[in-house]
């Protein structure tokens, strides 16, 4: 660690100099911290920046810029090889507090104190590159999505290892005679090009294909996953794309729709096989059926079967109907649907089938008997209509994700791992709707799907990819659909959520992109989303470690494993640098070079706490830098105002807040502590998925600590703050101030 040569710059522009005494601030730096200090009235202007640059030439390698929010002017206050610490005087002090008041001045001075203290405790991280990296991308699943991912990655110059469980490539796509249209004018079924794709992949020198093979286990981390295969071989790969696809819902459970009752009731997959063979015949007697009925949502959108919509079945039935009509122009086709779902440009496909004379009936099929008697409650005619003379029924069965390998039995998992994994599986999509009635639909609690884990990750937190509802290992993000809690592993295609071949190909291409990015990031030692580019890595000093395992259990990304001796061991490239481990550690032994419990603790203590007589309470606000902190900035941008008693410290995630900091703050005389973070729970909005939820859980235990200090529980508050809460924030803070006023000053003041 090189020694820091630090300079402090105070900017008086944008109204700062009009609202607070710059000399007062300078005095703080010079007399309290003995650091050199420069005031400029336009620091981000050419002259100001020139001044800084000339200091850099003179040898400073660290600086504190007390000016605007760190969210502003980031490009201008970026200097190679210099660590820049920002103190927010503009948005969070002068724009949100009255000018030339004592409280505003005190707030500004404390912000400078905290920033200079932070500088003293922080050094710029350097890349830590360890081990040999592999640039090979492993794609698991050789169906349409997997083939596409492999093909696209190879096209970008990367070597690919494609692993397929079956003895041939193509997966479900191979059964498809044609596919739904993805090219304009979107009117007719398109040729299935999977055979071409298989050929391209098979002939690509960059792609190695392993067939009849599964992954036995996966250990390591992005850049260097070590994968053992069922054939006994082993290989190191850089990133993984899971494209294990789907299987049709078990029609054997659809007896009420005649499956298994009449052999002329077939599934859409079985019909597809007939279309591929080019021989459409009803199973019972081989006759070409003259009247065919498609039953939509067979097992989908059904609380007793698949509660979700399988998305593609409407389009598939339309496609099959058109193909049937093409083969036998006189066949009569009915599609019985509840909601016809041909989103986007697929609406044109729907119109094509109407034009071709396919009859659409809205209604619910109650029962299909052995002689194919069907009674439909026709929603438009408002009557029950018996359909007679039906010669074949096609059940549009839905898609079940292959999120496990159901051919193999699940391995034994200890109770702790099971609990960790099951906690991810929500029994229903995690949505709360304000004002809506309680969900009357009760579903049995979901557990992990049967079967062996696809990757069998040798992670402390269990072998599976975390799954959302219904066994889909999807991302919970809307904005970042590839980001999951297993770094370097990307899920693509219908295993992620029901999708057609067009969307799956795009999804697989995106997943290949992310896999390449993960490999490059690992090689440079930088973090992936959301702290992309971050070089800092948690360092664990094992001497004080009590092997309590909190860090290994709480890490949202399963980045920390345990050694045989039970010590935590960080897998650097799995880590997303949220600091949840740091927040978890009861002995404060986990730290980053630029982010430590000690650093935040020192910043807390750097604030001047007025004594009781001054009647100026102090509130510590530990705020999520991703959402609450920008919201506080926007309070200033909108020129709203909040209490000047608050001292704000941004944190990477509330998950990184160690509860010891809370007791530290209270023991030095803060009257209260407010933690501002993202929404936890089922529909969490935390960028580190579990961080704010973990913080909430930890905080539920804080009252005991307070009790032991003989302090009131009301002194600590966790506030759920979203980035859009700038208008509400001043009120949230004010009401906390009110609470603290009623509780009275902290008796620890002045100790």
């Amino acid at each position: 660690m090189s020694t820091s040569n630090t300079c402090v710059y105070l900017c008086s522009g944008c109204g700062i100099g009009n609202a607070v005494s710059m000399d007062g601030l300078k005095n703080v730096v010079e007399s309290e911290f003995k650091k050199s200090c420069t005031i400029h009235d336009y620091l981000c202007g050419d002259e100001g920046l020139g001044l800084i640059r000339s200091d850099i030439v003179k040898g400073i390698n660290q600086m504190v810029v007390a000016a605007c929010s760190p969210r502003a002017m980031a490009d201008r206050f970026r200097f190679n090889g210099v660590q820049v610490i920002r103190a927010n005087l503009r948005e969070q002090v002068v724009w949100s507090h009255p000018e030339n008041e004592e409280d505003t001045q005190m707030m500004a001075e404390d912000n400078v104190r905290m920033a200079v203290t932070e500088a003293g405790k922080s050094t710029a991280p350097e890349p830590q590159l360890e081990g040999d990296n592999s640039e090979v991308i492993m794609v698991v699943g050789g169906g349409h999505s997997g083939l596409t991912a492999a093909y696209e990655a190879a096209k970008t110059g990367y070597d690919v290892l494609l692993v397929e469980r079956a003895t041939h490539l193509g997966g479900m796509a191979r059964k498809w005679s044609k596919r739904m249209p993805t090219d304009p004018p979107y009117k007719n079924p398109q040729p299935n090009t999977v055979e071409n794709l298989i050929e391209s992949v098979s002939n690509d020198p960059r792609i190695t294909v392993k067939m009849g093979c599964t992954v036995a286990k996966t250990s390591g981390m992005p850049g260097r996953f070590i994968v053992d295969f069922s054939d006994g071989s082993s290989q190191t790969v850089g990133a993984v794309v899971v494209a294990t696809g789907w299987r049709p819902y078990d029609a054997g459970k659809l007896n009420h729709l005649g499956y298994g009752i009449s052999s002329d009731v077939v599934t859409n997959v079985e019909l597809e096989e007939m279309l591929t063979e080019g021989r459409i015949a009803r199973p019972s007697d081989g006759k070409i059926p003259e009247v065919v009925v498609f039953v939509q949502c067979a097992g989908s959108r059904d609380r007793d079967h698949l509660p979700y919509c399988s998305s593609v079945c409407c389009g598939v039935s339309i496609k099959q109907a058109l193909q049937l009509r093409e083969a036998h122009p006189d066949v009569m086709i009915y599609i019985i649907y509840e909601e016809l779902r041909t989103p986007g440009v697929a609406e044109e496909f729907y119109r094509t089938s109407q034009r071709a004379g396919v009859i659409f009936l809205k209604g619910k099929v109650q029962k299909i008997d052995s002689s194919l008697g069907i009674t439909v409650q026709d929603a438009f005619l408002q009557q029950e209509v018996p359909l007679k003379g039906v010669e074949m029924v096609v059940l549009a069965t839905g898609m079940v994700p292959n999120s496990t390998n159901i051919d193999k039995e699940a391995q034994f998992l200890d109770e702790e791992k099971l609990k960790l994994l099951n906690s991810d599986v929500n029994h229903y999509a995690p949505i709360k709707v304000a004002g809506a009635a309680a969900e009357p639909i009760t579903l049995s609690a979901e557990t992990l799907p049967a079967g062996e884990s696809i990757l069998n990750l040798q992670y402390r937190q269990g072998p599976h990819l975390p799954m959302l509802a219904h066994g889909f290992p999807d991302s919970h993000y809307i904005c970042f659909p590839y980001e999951t809690r297993r770094s370097g592993v990307y899920v693509a295609g219908p295993v992620r959520r029901p999708m057609d071949m067009g969307e799956a190909a795009e999804d697989a291409t995106g997943a290949a992109m992310k896999a390449i990015q993960a490999i490059r990031a690992a090689a440079r030692g930088i973090a992936l989303h959301p702290r992309a580019g971050d070089l800092s890595i948690p360092h664990i000093n094992l001497n004080p470690c009590t092997k309590c395992r909190r860090c290994t259990v709480e890490c949202p990304f399963g980045a920390i494993d345990e050694t045989e001796q039970g010590f935590p061991s960080v897998n650097a490239t799995r880590c997303r640098r949220c600091g949840t481990c740091m927040g978890a550690c009861p002995v404060r032994t986990i730290s980053f070079t630029n982010y430590t419990v000690d650093m935040i603790g020192s910043m807390i203590k750097a604030v001047h706490i007025p004594d009781e007589m001054e009647e100026k309470p102090r509130i510590l606000a530990l705020v999520c830098e991703n959402d609450a902190y920008p919201a506080l900035d926007m309070v200033g941008i909108a020129r709203l105002s909040f209490s000047a008693y608050v001292r704000i410290i941004p944190v990477r995630c509330l998950g990184s807040v160690n509860l010891l900091l809370v007791s530290d703050a209270l023991s030095v005389g803060y009257d209260g502590v407010i933690l501002m973070g993202c929404k936890p729970g089922d529909d969490y909005q935390c960028h580190f998925m579990k961080g704010s939820g973990i913080a909430q859980e930890r905080l539920s235990k804080v009252s005991e600590t307070l009790k032991s200090m003989a302090l009131e529980a009301e002194r600590v508050l966790m506030a759920e703050v979203s980035i859009a809460d700038s208008a509400a924030l001043p009120k949230v803070i004010q009401s906390f101030v009110k609470v603290l006023e009623s509780v009275g000053p902290n008796p620890f003041k002045g100790f």
Partner: protein
């Protein structure tokens, strides 16, 4: 891969909405130089104007902030705002793109202090709020604007006030003489992420959007519900500022209609479910009627739909309303046939929200630039011009998540053209 080395390894992304940002940052974080062209003064596009996303009801600005942080930290991303493509020449790996930049009248050294705003009286329409409210003629597009720089409206130029505003800026950041300029970029691949425009509701003449104040569009609803919108997040009747007691949400306003947009815009059903949630969250006793043809809540979004439908204050009416008449008190009266009961209805509402669809922006603005489009104006792959790609809604009617998927895939395609 190219037969020979591409002459430029830079990727140009046209459009700075969620798709363009995604393509740009994914490519940049993989190590490529990226240039973003954005037509408006700030990145963020349509999603910045949304209050929340379905189905999580989370705020789009949350993801935007992360993306902006990623861009701030990444020196490989260059942004040109107020810029559009004027011409493209060349081929995959070697394009010369002529960029037209319209004047912002504010130089890059703006500190966003806001003195200019306080010095100006003139009001102009605020496009960020879909003209629902005015703003001053020197303005920050919104509080999350990125880059964080002010803009002078062209209407101010040449007025006496303009000089006043210029004088108010202590950093000499205002350039009233700025002119439209063009410059060339040399790039190896181009990704169109030009997004969408809401379909012009006034063209759906039976719905009398132009005549009834209390008939609004779904994008306007987003602004009404947004804390930084014209009503500070309170959903109120535009005619009188009162709380709406009964609200109609009308699906397929312009979509799935040969008179308007023949395709389904995919997002509107779920967006209306979200609007029902906004309303129910704000007003415990509001009644919400959703008029629809088919509810298209694919995959697990079905659960969100179920939750809304199970709300006893929300009614689903399977009907495409024929007309919205002007009621006795100038309130909207929705008329049509309930197709499940054959009842001919005629219901007065305090507020009607038209779920207008998405129209690709590129097709509307047209251009001399030759890209391959389908009949609807969505940009599709062109075998004759293999270094040009599309992402997000420029490529088809997609929701945000699918747009990001599409944009991530487009990043790889672009990289393939330049690596």
């Amino acid at each position: 891969m190219l037969e020979s080395q591409p002459r430029s390894q830079t990727i140009l992304v046209v459009g700075g909405g969620i798709s363009g940002i995604t393509t740009a940052i994914e490519a940049a974080e993989t190590g490529y130089d990226v240039v973003i062209l954005e037509k408006t003064p700030t990145l963020g596009g349509r999603v910045a104007q949304l209050n929340r996303y379905f189905p999580k009801l989370c705020h789009p600005t949350c993801g935007l902030e992360i993306n902006f942080q990623r861009i701030r930290k990444n020196p490989q991303v260059t942004i040109f705002t107020m810029s559009t493509v004027a011409a493209i020449q060349g081929e995959r790996g070697d394009y010369t793109v002529t960029v037209r930049q319209t004047p912002r009248y504010v130089k890059p050294n703006c500190t966003a202090c806001g003195d200019c705003t306080r010095a100006v009286e003139m009001k102009v329409k605020n496009p960020f709020n879909y003209d629902l409210a005015d703003m001053t003629a020197a303005y920050l597009p919104h509080e999350m604007a990125f880059p964080m720089r002010y803009v002078i409206a062209p209407q101010l130029i040449g007025t006496d006030e303009a000089e006043k505003v210029k004088a108010a800026c202590q950093y000499n950041a205002i350039d009233l003489e700025e002119k439209e300029s063009t410059f060339d970029l040399h790039v190896g691949a181009i990704v169109w992420a030009t997004g969408w425009q809401p379909y012009d509701a006034a063209r759906i003449s039976p719905y009398r959007y132009a005549y009834l104040k209390d008939v609004i569009t779904n994008v306007e609803m987003e602004r009404l519900a947004a804390h930084n919108g014209p009503t500070h997040g309170h959903i109120l009747r535009p005619s009188n500022g009162q709380i709406p007691r009964n609200v109609a949400l009308i699906q397929c306003a312009g979509s799935r209609d040969h008179n308007h947009l023949p395709y389904c815009s995919r997002i509107c059903c779920l967006a209306s479910m979200k609007h029902a949630a906004y309303l129910r969250e704000q007003y415990a006793d509001v009644r919400v009627d959703i008029y629809y043809i088919d509810i298209r809540a694919h995959d697990k979004l079905e659960a969100f739909y179920r939750k809304i439908v199970n709300d006893p204050r929300v009614r689903m009416i399977k009907s495409k309303p024929a007309e919205i008449r002007i009621g006795a008190e100038d309130e909207p009266v929705v008329c049509g046939e309930n197709t499940l009961t054959r009842e001919i209805y005629s219901e007065s509402y305090d507020l009607v929200v038209l779920a207008t669809g998405m129209q690709p922006s590129y097709s509307i603005h047209g251009s001399l630039i030759n890209v391959k489009m389908d009949d609807y104006g969505f940009i599709v792959p062109d075998d004759d011009n293999k270094g040009i790609f599309s992402a997000g809604v420029a490529a088809g009617p997609l929701d945000v998540s699918m747009s990001v998927q599409s944009a991530t895939a487009a990043a790889l395609k672009a990289i393939q053209a330049v690596y």
